[in-house]
Amino acid sequence: MAEVLRPEMLDISSNDNTSSLASSTELLHVLAVDDSMVDRKFIERLLRVSSCKVTVVDSATRALQYLGLDGENSSVGFEDLKINLIMTDYSMPGMTGYELLKKIKESSAFREIPVVIMSSENILPRIDRCLEEGAEDFLLKPVKLADVKRLRDSLMKAEERAFKNMMHKRDLEANDLYSQLKRAKI
């Protein structure tokens, strides 16, 4: 009788980009947007200290360019771009963080990425507007290390859940295939 393939030996690979795992060795990649030199240096350090990979840009326009959402061809390999979180200042010349938030939520490729707004001004209507538009959180500047760690932890948990769901799905698919093969007595 031919050897029946056990489920673990079957390789059901998919083309989805859940190949980037939030294991302890894989870093969350954060895109930070701020027009202030000092604040860019500060947020970059906060994120590195929190074990995140960081890309910092100085405007919303550059953020859109980086993501490939500006209509031009992106310089970064679009399909390989894995951003786990976007943190943006609210008040920026040209396009504001709020407008950037809207553009990201309008994009089918990036609308699932959590966007956090940072602002030095505690203006309730502004906060409401951002949250209504789908912002993950609104942080008052100066941002605290505790805020960043809290964000990172909740993102890691979400990634872990997504990873577990994917593995569970693969297990089910593998078991299903195994049963089919068994029934066909291959």
């Binding site: 350090r45 100066p142 290390l145």
Partner: protein
């Protein structure tokens, strides 16, 4: 020497030149990044010098574009807050209040005071960082590994 550095730092806090945000910055230093606070400070003074210049020019022109001045001051206040420059931040707040009130004279007066505080802080921090470097890395606050 290290004790001297500690005393200088303490007096900067006691006299209100710096606030807790400066301590938050120190918390982010480690062996791999022992000069982080000084780097941020250098960046701050470079950036704020540019802003002071812009505001000086805007005020010299005589026409008081309060919106533009307020916008410059918003940036100034922002970076001053991020580094813990307490007195400078307070002057920024006052300036913005005068802007909103359309009070040109108040703006001019406050701006002179702001420049003084800014210059004083720069000298004090330069002195502090110089001593801290001489005293050796033990003195600056470090994050536990």
């Amino acid at each position: 020497m290290q004790r001297q550095v500690a005393l200088i730092k303490q007096s900067l806090f006691d006299q209100g030149y710096l606030d807790e945000q400066f301590m938050e910055l120190e918390e982010l230093q480690d062996d791999a990044n022992p000069n982080f606070v000084e780097e941020v400070s250098t960046l701050y003074f470079k950036d704020s010098a540019r802003l002071i210049n812009n505001i000086d020019q805007a005020l010299e022109r005589g026409s008081f574009d309060f919106n533009r001045l307020d916008s410059y001051m918003h940036q100034f206040k922002g970076s001053s807050t991020s580094i813990g420059a307490n007195k400078v931040k307070a002057e920024c707040t006052k300036f913005r209040e005068y802007c909103r009130a359309g009070n040109a004279e108040g703006c001019l007066r406050t701006f002179q005071q702001l420049k003084k505080e800014h210059s004083t802080l720069r000298k004090k921090l330069e002195h502090y960082f110089q001593l801290a470097r001489q005293a050796g890395p033990k003195e600056t606050a470090r994050r536990p590994k």
